[in-house]
């Protein structure tokens, strides 16, 4: 028997560890490319200030990176420890991108980051630059494979259920990796990381400019971050729209919940700017609407109808009914994989197998053959994610995205007019912008993953069935352990981060320490390439 509390605690634990991990990942994704850009300018122009920038921002990058690595370790194993049914049920498909991520991306990122940090004096300029790019490439490829895996959960492409092995199996690898959801989400997410890094760099640079410290470094970092940021933010918004377009086809319940659309409105449907959705009565207590806007926004047409929650729930009830015989057939096949009647029954109903599973939770004794109209209705209701949460997490993410776009447009204007140092009001606001992309990223994660509910694999495997069969005690213990440990970690990380930001770039060191290996000959460089540091 599956215990609701265990499933609930498992969900909390996964959400906590994933959200936590995702605090550090976006900054790594973006900072690695910004560091590569700074070093590129240094190597091509020879300007010392860009080397200082790479060193200074590199230090902050590493404080963040350590926690990204640490919290990432948990993620690789948590599917097995806490979602064992999920892991055996879809591991044939889902495991591959995780393993390939290790082979192709994570090894590269982690090996070269060692050389990036420790190799300044042992590598030539060109070699070190290459190493920095490989770190950036590795971290971004890593995101690609993780999002391929996540894409499968959102829109299971390239897989089918095999009654012989009682699990989902890969049928087409290309369909898996080129799944539209995976591709759209990869670009949207990684570029959200670039936005995060750009805000981080510009916010800290603004802090220095406000205090009149490290003027040259701050000015150049700010300009670079602003240009990087304005492009990235524009791209994130455009690509987010593309992702919504993909999702409209693949995950209608997510879309309906995100827009708090209870009824199927005739196209072109109105768009809810703000609303107070109530799941119980399936209405919005109040809403502010713009007519006609929703249909073109989601479907990029004026005529395509977008189904509302009520219609989707009715469809789900049909599918639950149709899926129950598939689950019953499966039980027979588990004992005898050759039973012809069961195989025929399974084939006839297999497209709704997942919905049959959905019935399990509400059926008496968790046995789908005992399902009643009432329990099927409950299962169908369960197929709709939490509308209120979806509606508002999504809007918060979008609002923050637009806020950042406005911020970067101004930042670029001031920066290119070269009067940013006179815009003190703007410099005062800038450091307060730093939390914004982090919150927006987390809201994006919540929108994507809460919107996937009640499924771990959309339409295929309910979340409720996916968790490991632990006791409540084990789950309470591990959840408490993670929360405690991670809270200590974040306190330490924030402390170091703030301390190193306040301290600023180490100017004495950068002017005395020689960098890079000498062009020829071995040994420790004492006469490396040295240039007097330019004071502005």
């Amino acid at each position: 028997m599956i215990n609701d509390t265990v499933v609930e605690l498992s969900r909390w634990q996964f959400a906590a560890t994933a959200l936590y991990h995702f605090l550090f990942v976006p900054l790594t994704l973006g900072m690695s490319f910004m560091l590569a850009a700074m070093e590129t300018v240094y190597v091509t122009t020879g300007k010392q200030i860009y080397r200082e920038m790479a060193h200074f921002w590199g230090k902050l990058f590493l404080i963040n990176f350590a926690l990204g690595v640490a919290t990432g370790l948990t993620m690789e194993f948590e599917f097995g420890t806490n979602w064992s049914f999920y892991s055996s049920f879809v591991g044939d498909i889902f495991g591959a991108p995780l393993a390939i991520e290790g082979l192709m991306a994570f090894f590269m990122e982690s090996t070269f980051i060692g050389l990036m940090v420790f190799g300044w004096k042992r590598l030539s300029k060109g070699q070190h630059l290459l190493v920095t790019y490989l770190v950036a490439l590795g971290s971004n490829l890593s995101a690609l494979w993780i999002l391929v895996a996540n894409g499968f959960m959102q829109d299971p492409q390239g897989a089918a259920f095999n009654p012989v092995t009682m699990r989902m199996e890969l049928t087409n690898f290309a369909d898996l990796i080129f799944s539209p959801d995976a591709q759209a989400k990869f670009v949207h997410t990684s570029i959200a990381g670039y936005v995060t890094a750009a805000i981080f760099v510009s916010g800290i640079s603004a802090f220095y400019m406000l205090r009149g410290r490290h003027k040259e470094l701050a000015r150049r970092s700010f300009r670079m971050a602003s240009l990087f940021g304005v492009l990235a933010t524009a791209a994130v918004i455009t690509l987010g729209d593309a992702l919504g377009f993909v999702g409209a086809n693949a995950q209608p319940t997510k879309l309906a919940a995100m827009e708090a659309m209870w009824e199927t409105e005739p196209a072109p449907a109105p768009f809810n700017v703000a609303a107070w959705p109530d799941q119980e009565s399936q209405t919005n207590k109040w809403s502010i609407q713009i007519p006609y806007v929703l249909t073109p926004l989601l479907t990029h047409t004026m005529s395509q109808e977008v189904p509302g929650v009520k219609e989707l729930e009715a469809q789900a009830a049909e599918r639950v009914r149709n899926g129950i015989p598939a689950v019953e057939a499966l039980k027979v096949l588990s004992a005898d994989p050759t039973d012809a009647n069961a195989l025929a029954q399974f084939s006839a109903h297999k497209k709704d197998l997942g919905y049959g599973f959905l019935a399990k939770r509400y059926s008496p004794d968790q046995d789908v053959s005992k399902a009643t109209n009432e329990t099927i209705a409950k299962a169908a209701k369960d197929s709709i994610p939490n509308v209120f949460t979806m509606f508002w997490t999504f809007r918060l993410m979008v609002a923050f995205g637009l806020l950042m776009l406005a911020y970067f447009v101004l930042a670029v204007i001031f920066s290119l007019r070269r009067d940013i140092h006179r815009q003190r009001w703007f410099l005062r606001i800038a450091p307060w912008m730093i939390p914004v992309p982090f919150i927006a990223c987390e809201m994006g994660w919540l929108t994507a993953e809460i919107g996937r509910q009640p499924w771990t694999v959309y339409g295929v495997l309910p979340t409720w069935m996916s968790a490991s069969s632990h006791s409540v005690g084990y789950m309470a213990f591990s959840l408490a352990g993670f929360v405690l440990l991670y809270s200590i970690f974040i306190a330490i990380e924030m402390y170091l981060m703030v301390k190193f930001i306040r301290k600023g770039p180490d100017e004495s060191e950068s002017s005395s320490a020689p960098d890079y290996a000498p062009v020829s000959g071995g040994g420790v460089a004492t006469a490396g390439v040295m240039m007097p540091r330019k004071e502005n």
């Binding site: 590493l62 404080i63 350590a66 926690l67 640490a70 919290t71 370790l73 948990t74 690789e76 194993f77 599917f79 097995g80 420890t81 806490n82 049914f85 999920y86 892991s87 055996s88 591991g91 044939d92 889902f94 495991g95 591959a96 995780l98 393993a99 991520e101 290790g102 082979l103 192709m104 994570f106 982690s110 090996t111 070269f112 980051i113 060692g114 050389l115 940090v117 420790f118 190799g119 004096k121 042992r122 590598l123 095999n162 092995t165 699990r167 199996e169 890969l170 588990s334 004992a335 069969s469 632990h470 084990y474 213990f477 352990g481 440990l485 970690f489 330490i492 170091l496 180490d506 320490a513």
Partner: protein, 377 residues
């Protein structure tokens, strides 16, 4: 030969390679962490020790992550059943392992002695505990784990946390720890001088002797304990679940494979030879040779465990006939083929750039350089 059968065996071998790679590369860093407080008496000495693996620990750690990913991809049922069954032990492993990256990265960021001392303890715990858990995990596989499946392959673990820390498993854990201390000591010998060097040498030679004794005791223990025998099952090359086989338990059955194919005795002999010759080369100050001999010792130890269990990977003591073998817990042929393709392309690349990284960072780590470089740990 049937393709699917071949792929299952290939991935069983590759999993072994990964577990060995993990043991060698991560074990070495863990060993340095464990030894840190003992070989480094001053802060500078400790920093030298840390920086000797500073450029490599992160890359090495990917062996561990890839190990998890590869089990997931190639043997999803093992990934699901083992990691959920060994839940509290896995938490112990994860919670100690995730402290380690912070230990490396944050320890020397502040000058405070208290701060650094705290991280040195953290590195000790996050070096020693995971290696014990790693060995104990393999030990528990040999003993068999109390789990069974429901009709839909939901796995249920019925043992307690303490039953995972049985004497045999703990002994395997200590064997794993001693080999990691050996590798850590040898690595430090290669990168340090003077006092650090001689203390590391002492630690490595002592650890080699302990490992020899524990490996011998383990061998005797395994020869008398209950092994599992697959007496009836679908053909190995056929897609299957663990629900359609018959398994018997017999004392000493883990030696059956060695009795059938005496040539396999080479593997445990390799283990002993690696440790013994390793001991002498440590004494002789040949750290590079000693490192490779340590790697051979690991091949011997993990190879021995794998071969004696073959074709079992995770036997069940609750219902032996639901034991997991490489025949019934692997991924589909298509997934294994794709994974093989990626492995063929990327593993040589990984070995190539990892070697390059070690080559670039070769040579002794000097105290004054560590102190002067603001990037060092």
């Amino acid at each position: 030969m049937e393709l699917y059968l071949f792929l299952k065996v290939l991935w069983w071998v590759l999993l072994g390679v990964l577990l060995i790679g993990l043991a060698v590369m991560v074990g070495m860093d863990m060993g340095v962490g464990t030894l840190l407080r003992f070989v480094g008496r001053t802060d500078t000495e400790r920093r030298i020790a840390l920086n000797s693996i500073g450029p490599h620990w992160d890359g090495n750690q990917v062996w561990f992550i890839l190990g998890g990913g590869a089990i997931f991809a190639a043997f999803p049922l093992i990934y699901a059943t083992a990691f959920s069954g060994l839940y509290i032990v896995m938490m112990l492993l994860l919670w100690t392992m995730i402290v380690r990256p912070l230990g490396f990265e944050y320890r020397s960021k502040l000058p405070s002695a208290k701060w650094r001392n705290m991280w040195d303890w953290a590195l000790l715990v996050s070096g020693a505990v995971p290696m014990i858990v790693y060995g104990a995990g393999v030990g528990n596989m040999l003993k068999g784990v109390p789990f069974h499946f429901g009709w839909d392959l939901t796995s249920y673990y019925t043992g307690s946390f303490l039953s995972l820390l049985n004497p045999f498993a703990v002994m395997c854990g200590l064997l794993s720890l001693s080999l990691s201390i050996y590798m850590g000591g040898v690595m430090l010998m290669g990168r340090t001088e003077d006092d650090l060097y001689s203390r590391s040498q002492k630690a490595a030679s002592g650890a080699a002797l302990v490992a020899i004794v524990l490996f011998a005791i383990g061998g005797i223990w395994v020869s008398t304990m209950n092994g599992f025998v697959l007496t009836q099952s679908p053909a190995p090359g056929v897609a299957q679940t663990p629900m359609h086989q018959v398994v018997q338990v017999a004392s000493g059955a883990w030696l059956n494979n060695f009795k059938t194919y005496p040539v396999m005795w080479i593997v445990p002999v390799l283990g002993f030879a690696g440790m013994l010759l390793g001991f002498f080369s440590v004494r002789g100050g040949k750290s590079t040779l000693a490192w490779w001999l340590g790697a051979i010792a690991w091949i011997g130890v993990i190879g021995t465990a794998g071969l004696s269990m073959f074709p079992f990977m995770m036997p069940s003591i609750t219902d032996p006939s639901q034991s997991l073998t490489l025949w019934n817990s692997g991924s589909s042929q298509r997934t294994l083929l794709w994974m093989t393709g990626f492995t063929i392309v990327f593993v040589p690349l990984i070995l190539w750039y990892t070697s390059w990284a070690f080559y670039v960072m070769r040579g002794k780590v000097k105290g004054e350089e560590v102190e002067a470089d603001s990037h060092s740990y």
